[in-house]
Homo-oligomer: 480 residues x 2
C-alpha cells in the first residue's frame, strides 16, 4: 500500500467525497476540529452503538442502561475532582490572544520533558530559554496558568452560583444514579451501569481527523464489585474488551495493550490499561479500562451527604463497592473501522479500486439494488427488490451512472453485496448478486434472494462469544 | 380513572419506582428540571429513535441522515437569527439574584397580556403597578432585559472571539451541510436531510416532568422543495406525521392540530402547525411542522459567502430550495407514550393492577422469562429460554419474588408477554405464555415458542403505511 500519512489523507478524502464525515461548519471555514457524520458515517456510527448496546447491555442481565444529562449539578465536578484537577498548563500569546499548551511548547522547542514541573518552573523556563509563540514567533507570552478542560456555561435561572459544566466524561451520571439503580433494579454485586452519550473537553490541541475532538461520544460501563474481587473483574472486562475488538473485525496484530505507570494514571485510578490501535498516525489509545477504586462513590457520599452503599447478603454488611470502568470511544471505534477496512487493490485489467471491507453487520449500506438501465420497468423492479432486502437494515436504491461506476461507488462505501436487475430479471425473475470482496457474480432467483443473502452475509450473530466467567454467570442466575 | 393531575403524579411516581426516569442529580437535591432515563426509559427511548430512523431515513430513499456537533461555528446563530431574536424578557430580583420572565409576572400579577410590549413598557408597568418578586415578595426588581435562550460557552483555543453556543435546535447543522449532501449524494429536489440529537434552551420555566427540559432531544428533517411546491409537500408531511402518531399507538382522539396565527409564528416561518396531544396537564405541543421558506439557506449564503443552491434539471436553473421542517421531540414522544399506555384496571378478585399497554415494538422489555422457583434447574432452563427469545430485542430474566409479584412488576413495565418455566417444563418442554393485556395463559412447547411469539407479538412491521404520494415515489425512482 501507500505510506501512513498518505493513507490517512486518502481516508479523510474518501470520507468527505463519499459522505462518511465532513469538516464541521465548513461553509464558515470550519470550526475547532469539529466533524459532521454524513449519511454513511451516521449509519456506521449507529451500527457501532447498536451492537455495543446489544452486547454489553441487552445481552448482559447484570448491566443496566441509563441516559443522563450533559449538564449535571455542578457539585458533581467538585466531588469528582474535575474542577480542581482536570487542567492543562497554558500560556497566552499577548499579541494574538492565542493560547498554547505550555508543556508542549517546552517539549517541542527545548526538547525537555515538562511532566511534573510546577507552573512557576514552566514560566521560568519559557522566559529564560526564550520560548516563542507559534503564531507570532515572538516571546511575548503570558505566565503559565492552569486552564480547566471543562466547558462552562451559565444557567439563566439564577444570577449567583449559576455556573455549570458540560460533562467531560459520561461516567459521573452513573455514579449519581447508583442509588436509584440499586433501589429500583434489585441488583446484587457485581453489577454494572452503562451509558452512551456525548462528552466535551475544551482542549486546544484536537486533531487527527475524528480521533481527538472537543465533542465526542463515549460508551461506558461502571461495573461495581467487592473490593477484594477487583482484580478478577478487571481481568474479565479486559477479556471482554479484547473479544469486542475481534467481534468488530479489528485485526489482532493492530491491537495492543499499554499499562499506565503510576505517575501517568488519573487521580482516581489504581490500575489503568489502554487498548491501543495502530492508526496511520501512530499507536494510540482506542479504549481504556480503569480500576477507579471506591473513589467516586466515596467522594459523592462526602459531598452530597447521601449514603451510597449496597447491602451485601453474604456478609450482611453495607458496603461501598469498588469500580471497574471499561470505556469505549465511539468516534475512535469508527476511525479504527475505517482504517481497518480501507484497501487499495490492483485488478486483473491493471486498474485499481478502493474498497472498504467492513463486516456486513457494521457496513453502512447492507445491499445496493441497481437497475441495469432506467427503462423497461427495471427501475420499478429494483424498487420492489429494495423493499424486500431492507429487512437486513439500511439498503440503497442506486440508479444513476454506468453499472461499473456504481459498483466502484458501492465498493468505496463498503456495501457487502450489490443486486442488479437486468433484462434476464424481467424474463425469469433472477438477479445478479455481486460480492464486494471477490467481485464474483452469481444469478439468484428473487424468491431465494432473502435466504441467500441471510446465509451468506446477514446471519444473526448472537455475540455469545463475549467472555463470561462461570462465577459471573452463576451470580447472574441468582439475581433479580 | 383518576383525575388528571393525579394521573400525572402516578406516572411520575411509577417512572421513578420502576426505573423509567429519575430526577437528575437527585443526590444533590435535583437540578434544573433535569431527568435521567433509567433502564426502561432508555430502552423506550432507543425504540422510539430506532423506529423513527427506520421510518423516515432508512425507508425513504430521498432522505439522508447526518449527525452534527452540538457546538457549531458561532456565525451559524448570527445567520439563523437566534443571536438577535431568540430572547426572553427577564427581570432580576436584586435581593436574591433570581431571574423571572417579565411577561409572566405581568400576566400572573396584573392579568395583562404582555405579548408585543416593548422592554420599556414592561419595565414601566412593573414599577408603576408594584409587581413583586415571587421569591422575596419585594418590589426590588431590575429593569426588563432581553436574555438570550442559548447556552453560551468559551472555547479554550483563543481568547478573543471565543464565545460559542450550544445549539438551540438540531436544524441548523442540516442547513450547514446542505452543500455537502448535494455534492456527495447526487440528490435532486425534493430531498431531505435528517438528524437526531440534543438541543439546549436556557429557559427559566421548565416543567411538567420530561415535557419541558433545558436539555432535550429532537428528531428533525429539513425537506428541500421547489418554492411552488411547498404546499403539496407540507400536506404530505402533515399526513406522514399523522401516520407516525398512529403507528406508535397514539389514540386519534388525543391528537389535535393547531395552526399558528401569523403573530405567533417564528421569525423564519410562513406556515406552522403543531400536532398537539392531550397530556394530563393540558393540550400541548407534541410535534411541529413548519414551512421555513428559503430563509435559512439565504441567510447562510449571505453570512458565509458560499452559494447554497441546487441545479434543477427541469428548468436548467440554479435555485435555492424552500424548506418544509417536520420536528419530533423525543422526550415528548416518550411522555405521550407513557400517558397513552398507563391503565388502572380492576380485576375479578377486586384487586387493582397498573399496566403500561405499550405496543410490543416499543415496549422496553419484549419478553420476561421467569423460573417458577429457584431450584431443580428451573433457573438454568429460564436462562436458556431467555437466550432464545432475546432475538426479539431487550428481554429480562426475572428471578426473585413470588410469581404474582413478578407479573405485576412486568405489567407496570409494560412487558407484552411473560414466559414461565415450571415443573411441567422440565417434564415435557412446555412453558406458560402469559399475555399482558388479557392476562390469559397458554402452554407452548419451547420448540414452538419463537414462532408463537413472532406471530402474536413481534411480526416485523415494514411501516409501509407512512404516506407516499405518487409523485414523490416517481421522483424517488428517478433519482440517485
Amino acid at each position: 500500500m501507500t505510506n501512513s500519512s498518505d493513507k490517512m489523507d486518502k481516508i479523510v478524502a474518501l470520507c468527505k467525497r463519499r459522505g462518511f464525515a465532513y469538516p464541521g461548519s465548513l461553509i464558515y471555514g470550519g470550526f475547532a476540529n469539529s466533524y459532521t457524520y454524513g449519511p454513511y458515517g451516521v449509519e456506521l456510527k449507529r451500527n457501532i452503538t447498536d451492537l455495543w448496546w446489544k452486547t454489553f447491555v441487552r445481552d448482559m442481565p447484570d448491566v443496566f442502561g441509563i441516559d443522563g444529562d450533559i449538564i449535571l449539578h455542578p457539585k458533581t465536578w467538585e466531588a469528582s475532582g474535575h474542577l480542581e484537577q482536570f487542567n492543562d498548563p497554558m500560556v497566552e500569546d499577548r499579541d494574538t490572544g492565542h493560547r498554547f499548551r505550555a508543556d508542549h511548547l517546552i517539549e517541542d522547542q527545548l526538547g525537555i520533558d515538562a511532566e511534573g514541573m510546577s507552573l512557576e518552573e514552566m514560566t521560568k523556563l519559557i522566559r529564560d530559554k526564550g520560548v516563542t509563540s507559534p503564531t507570532s514567533g515572538k516571546t511575548n507570552l503570558s505566565e503559565v496558568k492552569q486552564f480547566n478542560q471543562m466547558f462552562s456555561t451559565e444557567m439563566a435561572k439564577t444570577s449567583e452560583g449559576s455556573k455549570a459544566y458540560l460533562r467531560p466524561e459520561t461516567a459521573q451520571a452513573m455514579f449519581l444514579e447508583f442509588k436509584n439503580i440499586v433501589d429500583t433494579q434489585r441488583c446484587k454485586l457485581p453489577f454494572g451501569i452503562a451509558q452512551i452519550g456525548k462528552a466535551f473537553r475544551n482542549e486546544i490541541t484536537p486533531g487527527n481527523f475524528i480521533f481527538r475532538r472537543l465533542e465526542f461520544e463515549q460508551m461506558e460501563i461502571e461495573y461495581f464489585v467487592k473490593k477484594e474481587e477487583w482484580e478478577k473483574y478487571f481481568d474479565l472486562w479486559h477479556q471482554r474488551m479484547d473479544d469486542w475488538c475481534e467481534m468488530i473485525g479489528l485485526n489482532k496484530k493492530n491491537v495492543h495493550i499499554y499499562e499506565h505507570p503510576q505517575e501517568k494514571r488519573s487521580h482516581y485510578s489504581e490500575k489503568t490499561i489502554d487498548i491501543e490501535y495502530d492508526f496511520p498516525f501512530g499507536r494510540k489509545e482506542l479504549y481504556g479500562l480503569a480500576y477507579r477504586t471506591d473513589f467516586d462513590l466515596t467522594q459523592h457520599q462526602k459531598h452530597s451527604g447521601q449514603a451510597l452503599h449496597i447491602h451485601d447478603e453474604e456478609s450482611g454488611q453495607k458496603l461501598v463497592p469498588h469500580v471497574i470502568e471499561p470505556t469505549f470511544g465511539v468516534d475512535r471505534t469508527l476511525l479504527a473501522l475505517l482504517v481497518e477496512a480501507y484497501q487499495e487493490e490492483k485488478l486483473e485489467d491493471e486498474t485499481e479500486r478502493v474498497v472498504m471491507k467492513f463486516m456486513p453487520r457494521l457496513a453502512p449500506v447492507k445491499v445496493a439494488v441497481m437497475p441495469l438501465m432506467k427503462k423497461d420497468g427495471m427501475t420499478e423492479k429494483a424498487h420492489e427488490v429494495w423493499k424486500l432486502v431492507k429487512i437486513f437494515g439500511n439498503c440503497e436504491l442506486d440508479i444513476s451512472g454506468s453499472i461499473g461506476k456504481r459498483y466502484r461507488r458501492q465498493d468505496e462505501i463498503g456495501t457487502p453485496v450489490c443486486v442488479t436487475i437486468d433484462y434476464e430479471t424481467l424474463e425469469d425473475g433472477s438477479v445478479t448478486v455481486r460480492d464486494r470482496d471477490s467481485m464474483k457474480q452469481e444469478r439468484v432467483k428473487i424468491d431465494e434472494l432473502e435466504d441467500t443473502l441471510r446465509m451468506k452475509y446477514f446471519r444473526v450473530c448472537h455475540s455469545e462469544f463475549i467472555s463470561e466467567s462461570h462465577t459471573t454467570l452463576n451470580k447472574k442466575l441468582n439475581q433479580r
